[in-house]
């Protein structure tokens, strides 16, 4: 992955989030506060404006993370922001990175998200899509970026769907107690969009 591909990924995420803003918002309406789609769309729209500068994949993701932190707000701003910042930092200043390096970066992102938000798998958050996606990516990394990304996207989708039956223990949905069961987590859904975008630009 070079800077161009990194940019393509982030741009694809932005396009996907823009297209799915309404879906994410409606999922958040059911068990949250109806802003997840708008939050991410505002953030990634701002990211698009700063993607031209950075010249390495690491820098692309670092800028993406910083921009998300300063434009999104809410829970998802710091979480996605930290994820991309950690990914960017892990990739360092290399002008191209291979699949295992991306895997390590995604793992660093997971650690950052879990450290900041304190959510474990099963808490019905973005972690439930992100964690299995990272694991699948790691497993398939040896087969190259495209295969790893495809595996990660599929795992994210499965994790996302599994959030439906979970009771939330973190974030706003936890306020609903039992009533959070039966709804798909908006953050897990946006995480799936992130990996689908990666799969599509690397396919």
């Amino acid at each position: 992955m070079d800077a161009a591909l990194a940019r393509a990924w982030v741009s694809a995420v932005a396009a996907s989030v823009a297209a799915q803003t309404e879906l994410l918002t409606q999922l958040d309406a059911a068990i949250g506060d109806s802003d997840h789609g708008v939050n991410l769309n505002r953030g990634f729209t701002a990211v698009l404006a700063v993607l031209d500068g950075p010249e390495t994949p690491g820098e692309v993701f670092a800028v993406t993370g910083r921009t998300l932190v300063s434009k999104v707000g809410g829970a998802s701003g710091p979480l996605y922001g930290s994820l991309f910042r950690a990914l960017g930092k892990a990739l360092g200043t290399a002008s191209t990175v291979d699949a295992p390096e991306v895997a390590a970066g995604l793992r660093a992102g997971l650690d950052a998200v879990r450290k900041l938000g304190g959510a474990a798998p099963g808490d019905k958050t973005m972690v439930d899509a992100y964690e299995p996606a990272v694991v699948a990516f790691e497993k398939a990394a040896a087969d190259g970026l495209a295969a790893a990304a495809r595996a990660a996207a599929d795992a994210a989708a499965a994790g996302m769907r599994a959030t439906v039956d979970l009771r939330a223990r973190k974030g706003r949905a936890s306020y609903l107690g039992e009533r959070s069961i039966g709804h798909q987590d908006p953050g897990a859904t946006s995480t799936w969009l992130v990996f689908e975008a990666l799969a599509s630009v690397t396919a």
């Binding site: 918002t25 409606q26 309406a29 059911a30 068990i31 949250g32 506060d33 109806s34 802003d35 789609g37 708008v38 939050n39 505002r42 932190v69 300063s70 434009k71 999104v72 707000g73 809410g74 829970a75 998802s76 701003g77 710091p78 979480l79 900041l116 938000g117 009771r167 223990r169 973190k170 974030g171 706003r172 936890s174 306020y175 609903l176 107690g177 009533r179």
Partner: protein, 332 residues
């Protein structure tokens, strides 16, 4: 969606422009999206900053002024502000004596304020944080993100603000705010869902004869749904929830806030307050001060919250101290 708005995405910025026009006595920074007391920073005075998602007006911008907040940083609707914004507010009010952040306990608010506090620390500003989590509808367990911050925020900001005005230290101001929070319990009921400008339709469907019990201030459904009941029974339900969660010894003095969620007219709030006051009286609780009105709202939601805060003479004195803000004003 029936709202006085232009583009949904511009609501917060445009409302801020309106606040700037309506309140020339405040400094509104449209760039950073912050509202600041015109005399801030004051040398040697602790700066008091709060913020959170918009949609709760007059909280927090309406509480900026003498005796209360030095600055407010409103995020997008129901979305906590970003660290840059909070940092800008923090720096704008830092008079060298440190800054106290009043943060409602929501994952997003906590994280963004935490990041801002770290950034401010890097700039040499000492930040203390008061976390408000008064909503007893939510269990404080590993099953939740902890209790939500709701109505007590107003009382925390008033009391901490009055203390800050006396030249107290940041640690003392934060400790007073924390004490008020610990002495407070809130519970809310919604009769309708609210509509965010971005989504354009009510956050949940609620049949004509039902209500949501134990709601927060972000349009989320409550802990449970029940048949709509007369005001006196709703009052009983809220009083029981509040006293059940934080039992009061007989004769306790309290400040009671009967708060509307934005779409409930004052006549109903007064009616409900009458019921609440009678029930608290029966329970041996003394209401030393009260406030009835729409103060900590959830856009256009029809509903009300009850906050009971046990006070001592010191807190009462700080509550009574002069305050001059758009939404709360007395003695000055």
């Amino acid at each position: 969606m029936k709202k006085f708005v232009n583009e949904p995405s511009a609501v917060v910025k445009e409302a801020l422009a309106g606040i700037a026009a309506a309140h020339p006595e405040l400094r509104v920074d449209l760039e950073n999206q912050i509202i600041v007391r015109s005399d801030a920073p004051r040398r040697g005075k602790v700066g008091l900053v709060s913020g959170g998602g918009s949609g709760h007006e007059p909280l927090h911008g309406g509480f900026v002024g003498l005796g209360m907040l030095d600055a407010a940083c409103p995020g997008e609707i129901f979305t906590s502000p970003v660290p840059d914004q909070i940092l800008a507010a923090t720096q704008a009010v830092d008079g060298g004596a440190g800054v106290v952040h009043v943060v409602k306990n929501y994952t997003g608010d906590v994280m963004n304020f935490q990041m801002a506090a770290e950034l401010a620390g890097d700039e040499g500003v000492e930040v203390h944080t008061v976390l408000v989590d008064d909503d007893v509808a939510v269990e404080d367990s590993t099953w939740t993100a902890g209790r939500r911050g709701t109505g007590a925020t107003l009382i925390v900001e008033k009391v901490a603000g009055a203390l800050a005005e006396t030249g107290a230290s940041a640690a003392a101001v934060a400790a007073a705010g924390t004490r008020v929070n610990e002495a407070s319990a809130s519970f809310a009921v919604a009769l309708t869902a609210c509509t965010t400008p971005a989504s354009g339709r009510p956050g949940f469907d609620l049949p004509d004869d039902e209500m949501e019990v134990g709601v927060g201030i972000h349009g989320e459904p409550g802990r449970r749904r029940e048949k709509l009941r007369p005001a006196r029974e709703i009052a009983a339900l809220a009083v029981e929830a509040v006293l059940g969660a934080k039992p009061l010894s007989a004769g306790s003095e309290t400040i009671v806030l009967l708060n509307g969620l934005g779409g409930t007219p004052l006549i109903e709030l007064y009616l409900l307050y009458g019921e609440v006051a009678a029930l608290l009286d029966k329970a041996g609780v003394r209401i030393a001060r009260n406030l009835v009105g729409n103060y900590v709202t959830s856009l256009d939601m029809a509903g009300a919250s009850l906050t009971v805060c046990t006070v001592d003479a010191e807190v009462l004195r700080l509550w009574d101290a002069p305050v001059r803000t758009p939404a709360l004003r007395w003695g000055a």
